[in-house]
């Protein structure tokens, strides 16, 4: 049965300060799915997860079961790492999941670790999440006490340990391979793939990295079965979706919703519409790295596949009439990303927003590969000067050209994260940029 607006699965304890207490969690049925899972064969859990159409909630939407399947069958030491380094601007859901319902995450993680045969597991949490870290640490301590964690989980013989590892302030460490480097105590440099972490991960061992929200769903898949979970969603996306509604809204917030809702329904029905009685101008649908949507593109369901393919969304261009090529001639519309939906009203200065977005990715570029390191810096400087009204003729084309050069040509996705929104803003709001560019002074260089 597809989820409706009232279906709350993993956010049901939001607002309940008691639920982080292990007794309360248990009394609400907590850790029962762990007991059930320990009675299952690991392969069966993996098969269930695969069949459930659970897709990674970190941003890429990769099927979780498929990711788990990449771990070599004969792997000895496997690590499971929970990616709690949520730092994509516009995204603030994992923070809430960990704060309100930490045991839900732990239960999901322990079940997953059991399925993967992972003994040592980490939660890599953002350094800025200072409120959530002690909550998690307390939950882990309690779970050890009740033998949900330890050398012998619930007498099953399965050994499972979870350690919280705090980040130190680097957006790039949300990229799973950079996260692993950081976990190893190094500079958070993304790795080239292949080899994938499932083959060579942390400390040289096979590693699965899953997002907080992804893992929180696992107990419910065990409880209700893969079919139930798949049915909640649409198409190849199972379950509900948490969206983080921010920006110029009457009621911003974190909402668990069915994937069938359109962007316009989210804004008007869920969040009470645009603030101050204004009109919507632009929406970023999945964290600031995704191409924006203009006001006339908002009747598309806010779901992974629809946002990528629905023809009502204008494809991103590198120049008017020239579509951006994602490789193999594939067009780019936008993506659901991390569920961070940023809504902007009709008073918004789009070139300034663009500059702010680029500045973020420039600042957080790890500096490893050339297009991102040099390209984002150049792009940021040009974007800023355009935003400040100091742009020069040709700057709009230059921005598009730099962004086009970066996209698809970097080691990790940070290159796209910087380039796509720029190309998207230029595609949909080009006139605003051009209007900001003043005529050059007499004799000034181009």
């Amino acid at each position: 049965m597809p989820a409706d607006v009232d279906t709350k699965i993993i956010t049901r304890q939001f607002g309940n300060e008691e639920a982080k207490n292990i007794e309360v969690y248990e009394s609400l049925g907590g850790y029962r799915q762990l007991r059930r899972a320990l009675g299952m064969k690991p392969e069966d859990i993996k098969a269930e997860v695969k069949a459930s159409n659970l897709r990674g909630r970190g941003g890429a939407g990769f099927p979780t079961g498929v990711k788990w399947g990449f771990v070599p069958a004969d792997a000895e030491d496997v690590y499971l790492v929970c990616n709690a380094d949520e730092s994509e601007p516009g995204t603030c859901k994992d923070r809430e999941l960990m704060y309100w319902d930490p045991h839900q995450l732990l239960e999901g993680m322990i079940i997953s670790a059991y399925a993967l045969g992972a003994r040592n597991n980490y939660i890599y949490i953002r350094g800025e999440m200072m409120r959530e870290t002690p909550v998690l640490e307390k939950a882990i301590a309690d779970a050890y006490e009740r033998r949900y964690l330890g050398e012998d989980v619930l007498g099953s013989g399965f050994a499972c340990h979870i350690t919280v590892h705090r980040g130190a302030g680097a957006y790039i460490c949300g990229e799973e391979t950079a996260l692993l480097e950081s976990l190893e105590g190094k500079r958070g440099w993304p790795r080239l793939k292949p080899p994938f972490p499932a083959v060579v991960g942390v400390f040289g061992k096979p590693t699965v990295v899953n997002n907080v929200e992804t893992l929180c769903n696992i107990p419910y898949i065990v409880e209700h079965g893969s079919q139930w979970f798949a049915d909640l969603g649409v198409g190849r996306s199972g379950g509900t979706r948490i969206v983080c509604m921010s920006g110029h809204l009457e009621r911003p917030g974190v909402y668990e919703l069915p994937m069938t809702l359109t962007m316009r329904q989210l804004i008007d029905d869920v969040c009470g519409g645009i603030w101050k009685g204004r009109e919507v101008k632009c929406v970023i649908p999945g964290g600031s790295s995704m191409p924006p949507m203009s006001a006339d593109e908002l009747d598309v369901p806010c779901e992974f596949d629809a946002l990528m393919t629905d023809e009502r969304i204008k494809p991103v261009e590198v120049a008017p009439g020239v579509p951006f090529d994602m490789g193999g001639g594939k067009e780019l519309r936008t993506m659901a990303g991390s569920g961070g939906i940023m809504v902007m009203d009709d008073h918004t200065d789009i070139p300034a927003v663009c500059a702010r977005v680029v500045e973020f990715y420039h600042h957080e570029s790890c500096g490893q590969c050339t297009p991102c390191r040099e390209g984002t810096g150049w792009l940021a400087k040009i974007s800023h000067r355009v935003a400040k009204g100091e742009g020069r003729p040709g700057d709009v084309d230059l921005m598009a050209s730099i962004a086009d050069g970066i996209a698809g040509n970097t080691i990790c996705a940070l290159g796209e994260a910087a380039a796509w929104p720029v190309l998207g803003f230029l595609t949909k709001f080009r006139a605003e940029f051009e209007a900001k560019i003043k005529a050059p002074k007499e004799g000034a260089a181009a």
């Binding site: 601007p89 995204t91 603030c92 350094g127 190094k186 911003p252 600031s288 940023m342």
Partner: protein
Amino acid sequence: MAALSSAERAEIDAEIAILPDARSASIEALKTVQRHRRWIDDDALGAVAEYLDLSKHELEAIASFYNLLFRKPVGRHVVLVCDSVSCWILGNEAVKQALEDSLGAAFGEVTRDDRFTALPMQCLGACDRGPALMIDEDLHGPVQPADVSELLRRYP
């Protein structure tokens, strides 16, 4: 106070214990020292390097990668202001200005009474509560410019 205190050593040891080797604890060790000393001065960096059997050069390479490892002095309270686009569209520029005005110090500087240092952070991940800022471990948001001086008063 170059040498690590016994408390610092104990905390670093606890991190090393849960990792395959000491060098993997480098980031945590730096954060430990920072917790105790507000920021990581050259002596502290040297002491941590020695303790983890790393060179200062290696440890500086790590320290210089992370935004939350402070290699310059900060005040008793650190104010992190979210500087991401989601807070920007909600007016964080005005909050930042109010903060500088209240502190009488620019971003990155220590106030004359050694009480505060404000730092812009690329994103605090509190987008539904923008404009957001953190003072020490407390997240505040939405913050209006007018709220700033009252907020600061809570951190003597």
